[in-house]
Symmetry: C2
Subunit: 418 residues, 2 copies
């Protein structure tokens, strides 16, 4: 087994070859897509071993996330071609300044350098992260979870073959062979070797990165998303949006976790919520949503009384915390106190409250009359994403290709001095 | 004395008042400028005490940086008005995306929140930092150095009076009263209270922030700037640029520290450098530049033989490290190994080498036939700067008002679900 440091060093060393061969990037992505398809038997075999080993300790949802099929590998390869078709983020002139002294300053987008990602069980992240990094001109360090190790290794092998087919060094994609904490810790301290670390996984991983990383790190993906139903809301619209935000895919970060309802309509609206999310779902044989109610909501509908942590928990499940609030200001204050800064929505027909909510709520995505489920690189038209940033520095919300670039100033002149 | 934590809490609490009164920002800056002028006697008196106390342990250059005069306070007030006159960075729609489903996504610039700056002796940084933060919609935490404590306190008093005059809370500018390491360490860990930390000072301070801060931090200002004189250079142009970059103000971060000369012209060019930077300066009674030469350069001109650290030191003095390199590729490699990522220049008449240098050198500012001294917010036309970022995340190079903003996505629709 090679050490993490050896892999970091060889990835850094390979980077100039990518900078010198920008024109080969798309050919490399096409070759990678072909290799993923050509090597699907090896990938499926490795994945079957991972799944077999994981059955003992993972639940059904996690096993499903881990499992690859011929179709999923096909989707992976198609995803690679989709990224290849996106505009190249490198070399855009973001701003051009001509100064009175004749110098011309071009603020120009350039790759970050080496991007590292530490992620958990889904093996398709391996190819997504690698091709997003490569398309944006970066080398990449992949440090996946233990459960998907064999699958990731087989996918990386195919990616490296694709790079070689296109005449690029295989070392542009560095695969960390050690999946214990030490390798993650070593990446977090890799000053000069890694330009950006993206932790993608549970709250524990992200906290460890924030506390221990001395290289730049973007926090991603924790979403305690709120929907506030204003007094003036179109209640039918509100019901459709909440049903979508809570139940279409509860395990993802842009799903709704908290419902805030204006007190003037709570008596009318909350029974409709209970009917929609509990009674109708039960009648249809679907899993009902467990409602965790603050005291005012519990006076109106039946449900579990919310405990002290229920408004600060990312459930990722069929659970919804519900509170009755005095007005839009109270909703905004509640969100300021409890949100993770991911996505929040107001359902309102009042333009003033919509304006107040969008200007005062300090989250990556703030919605008016739209489901929070749209916070996603694809849905935003960015084509794809490396993760959803919940911090304010560098990138906020979905991180696509442009967010994997930085810029530099290129200044041309004819002997100017100051 | 109030504790650092008390000040952080009250600053955070004051922030919404600024968000709710954006239209008062310029009036507040004008009131601050007036107050700086009106309270100049108090400021000068406080400064005289600082200077008196510092004479024992600070050298002349540092005493000069610390000293305020009536004219310098006038310049400070004028600087405040210059910032007021700049375009408001808040609320710009950076990108507008209409999706096929009818939702409209606006990527909109918004303030970071609370910006903290830890800085050393120059008291004018106090007003610069405060007004840049306020103009961009941020509250600010100021933690200056011990030597300038009384001066900073008097300046902050005037600023707070100006805020009050304009009907804004004085707490928007938080002045840390404790100047020992503990207050700096507390800011570095102030998760949830400070959105961005900008250390502005020596390498030791910046290293401490990078290693210890768990809140986002932008490294600024360390500049080991290189100038490479290519075989094809217009040598007269090169001499003018090097004289400017090395001697016009050696104590600043955009001054040249290292000269790289193509071996094909070193025999002709280096004697001109010695004549210009040593002999002519001596003849004029100016401080000559000490040349620290690698072995090849030392074969051509007299000077000190460079020690192992001379190519990795920010001298901030009349000292220049000189090396002879094989070609542009060797210059680029030398820079990759030794640069701090601030500013580098190539002097060349060869378009291919200019292109190679600008595309391969990975620094915030890369120059062709221009002095590195232009890396500055004012010279770039940004109006001003909070510091020069030498990192790649969030902002690179001069940080002006736009770089003190982040963005959020505001999404409007009519009931869209996914």
């Amino acid at each position: 087994m090679r050490t993490t440091r050896e892999i970091l060093l060889e990835t850094k060393k390979a980077l100039p070859a990518l900078a010198a061969s920008k024109e080969k990037k798309n050919a490399a992505l096409e070759a990678i897509a072909n290799r993923l398809l050509a090597e699907k038997d090896e990938i499926l075999k490795a994945n079957a071993e991972d799944v077999e080993a994981a059955r003992e300790h993972l639940g059904d949802v996690m096993i499903d996330r881990l499992t690859l099929t011929e179709k999923r590998i096909g989707d992976m390869a198609k995803g690679v071609l989709d990224v290849a078709a996106l505009p190249d983020p490198e070399g855009r002139v973001l701003k051009r300044i001509e100064r009175p002294n004749g110098i011309v300053i071009e603020k120009t987008s350039v790759p970050l350098g080496v991007v590292a990602i530490i992620y958990e069980s889904r093996p398709n992240v391996t190819s997504d992260a690698a091709v997003l990094a490569l398309k944006s001109g970066n080398a990449v360090i992949l440090r996946g979870g233990r459960e998907a190790f064999r699958s990731n290794e087989a996918i990386v092998k195919a990616i490296k073959h694709g790079l070689a087919d296109a005449g690029l060094p295989e070392e542009l994609v560095g695969f960390i062979e050690d999946t214990d904490h030490r390798s993650a810790d070593e990446i977090m301290k890799a000053v000069g070797l890694v330009d950006l670390l993206i932790p993608r996984g549970g709250a524990g991983l992200i906290r460890r990165c924030v506390e221990n990383a001395i290289i730049p790190c973007v926090q991603t993906g924790t979403g305690i998303c709120h929907i506030f139903v204003d007094e003036s809301a179109d209640q039918e619209k509100a019901l459709r949006i909440i049903e979508n935000a809570k139940t279409s895919r509860p395990s993802v970060c842009n799903a709704e976790e908290v419902l805030l309802v204006h007190e003037a309509i709570a008596g009318e609206f909350l029974p409709k919520i209970k009917a929609l999310l509990v009674d109708e779902r039960e009648a249809k044989g679907l899993q009902p949503v467990e409602l965790r109610l603050d005291e005012k909501a519990a006076d109106i509908i039946p449900g579990t009384l919310a405990g002290p942590l229920d408004f600060d928990t990312e459930f990722l499940d069929y659970i919804l915390a519900v509170a009755v609030v005095k007005d839009a200001d109270a909703a905004i204050s509640h969100i300021a106190e409890h949100s993770t800064g991911h996505s929040e929505a107001i359902i309102t027909e009042d333009a003033g409250n919509a304006e107040k909510f969008t200007s005062q709520v300090d989250s990556a995505a703030v919605y008016v009359n739209v489901s929070t489920r749209f916070t996603d690189g694809g849905e935003f038209g960015l084509g794809c994403e490396m993760g959803i940033s919940t911090q304010k520095m560098h990138a906020r919300g979905p991180m696509g290709l442009e967010e994997l670039n930085t810029y530099k100033y290129v200044i041309r002149g004819d002997g100017q001095i100051r």
